[in-house]
Subunit: 297 residues, 2 copies
């Protein structure tokens, strides 16, 4: 077997005494990051989707970027609105999409039927870590609170970027913004043309394989031809509503460790690489997220 | 159901008499492109991989970018070397990889065991269509002969970019370049840090769903834990070696139609879009490829 990434190559090089020592990889930074550089994600910002086959997919919600849509999603989860919903669309190199038909299943109380167009927000109040490399879509890109984003210093706007795993709100034509009842997640190369045209409300941080490896739909736009192909969802619940013992916990990498991680993603100099790129795309950074055990009682 | 792309939205808008007419989409350009803008891909540059379950995946080989590796791949196909090979690695948001263990299965005659490092080539002799938007990895990006690529006018070098569906050659540490006996295809956001560090030899142009929707491997780097999970390959043959009636045929979009397509990918102004991006990533263009019937006899 051959490998095409650095991790094993570095290990292999380190194992060969005659070779120079392996240089630091992005994974080394993640493995060695001190506790102070890991930020806990609040349980109230986590949505756990359980498929009918028992697999679980966890989403982190972006309250600070789309507050009304995220509040809708929380209200929908609390009402059990997605229990029995379906994944009905899987379009290769694009999105997987799920929800209910809102004309068949009325929205529960507390859900804003016509939310504002939360496609971007003000830069004010955000702490931004600039990426510092060019972007085809925006004047600048970077990270804020662990989220990949684009921003514009001229009009002081910021928006989440449609990277792999990011979750947005399905909608019809404007001014409809969607309620949050139908959601999609990106399963291919970042469709950044959707940025600032849709409410991005979060990202998948665990169990995404249960969605990304689904059979692709054969109808136009990846809809399943036969509704019996739809993948049933057992439930979607806020993690903060689960019993404490059942709550998964996650942290994302920040601080100096995240900066070093990004630097090494842009400048791979470990044994496998001959020519470091000297740059990295905002959607190829991949903010490290880890599952952590519950604190000891 | 809600949709998040323009095609149906545009159709829907056109159907509503009170609305303004739908504006042209990239798909409209593809559908309306004249025959002169479609370029046939030679059958000798197509490799058809048939999985044991009968599904077929077709690769286009990039002879002009990695001639020695591509010649190896053709020799391996002619020798039936991949018949019975396995897909043994599926790493989410990264690659699917297949081949044989070369220490178990000797390479056939005619295969160059130590090919040169065909990681980039000279710009000379290439017709380049510049993309014209910034890139995080290279001074410039664009297309040549239907291939997405990066280039540098200073050192006059060019290299294929690791976009979704692009195929590269697995290797160990340098100076090993791999023979072509083990190949991978990108199934996630473009891992462009691999550019200029690996021989890119082609791209998947048909049937990729048979690879992208495979279960992800649970071992490090996406290797399947249990070798019985490996996905068997029945055969890999050059299309030019199939009987004429069995040869699939493909064309890619070029010329003015391709230019208009790229322009519209960067400036979505059809009914669904509120804010066109004004730019597009080289790996989010997606060079249109179509299957065409055999000519009438």
């Amino acid at each position: 077997m051959r490998i095409i990434v650095a991790l094993l190559a570095a290990v292999s090089a380190a194992a060969m005494a005659a070779d120079p020592p392996a240089l630091k990889t992005p994974n080394d930074v993640v493995a060695g990051a001190p506790a102070k550089d890991w930020v806990a994600i609040p349980a109230g910002d986590l949505l756990q989707i359980e498929l009918a086959d028992g697999r679980k997919v966890v989403l982190q919600l972006a309250t600070q970027f789309a507050p009304v849509h995220v509040a809708n999603i929380k209200a929908l989860a609390r009402a059990g609105w997605w229990d029995g919903a379906k994944i009905y669309r899987v379009q290769d190199n694009y999105v997987v999409q799920w929800g209910n038909n809102e004309s068949d299943k009325p929205l529960p109380a507390g859900v804003v039927a016509k939310p504002p167009a939360e496609y971007s927000r003000s830069l004010k109040g955000l702490t931004v870590v600039p990426l510092g490399f060019p972007d085809a879509y925006a004047p600048a890109v970077g990270f804020s609170g662990g989220w990949p984003m684009a921003y514009d210093l001229k009009d002081e706007s910021a928006n989440l970027t449609h990277c792999y795993g990011m979750v947005g709100v399905g909608r019809d034509l404007s001014p409809d913004t969607g309620t949050g009842g139908e959601l999609y997640a990106v399963i291919g190369h970042a469709p950044r043309h959707l940025d600032r045209n849709i409410a991005v409300v979060g990202r998948v941080i665990s169990g995404f394989e249960a969605m990304t490896a689904l059979p692709r739909g054969t109808e136009a736009l990846g809809f399943y031809k036969d509704r019996s192909s739809d993948v049933p969802i057992k439930s979607a619940k806020l993690v903060s509503d689960l019993s404490p013992d059942a709550q998964p916990r996650f942290e994302y990498l920040a601080g100096d460790s995240f900066a070093e991680y990004v630097h090494l993603r842009a400048n791979r100099h470990d044994a496998f690489y001959i020519r470091p790129a000297g740059g990295v795309d905002v959607c190829n950074v991949g903010v490290p997220v880890r599952a952590v055990p519950a604190p000891a009682k």
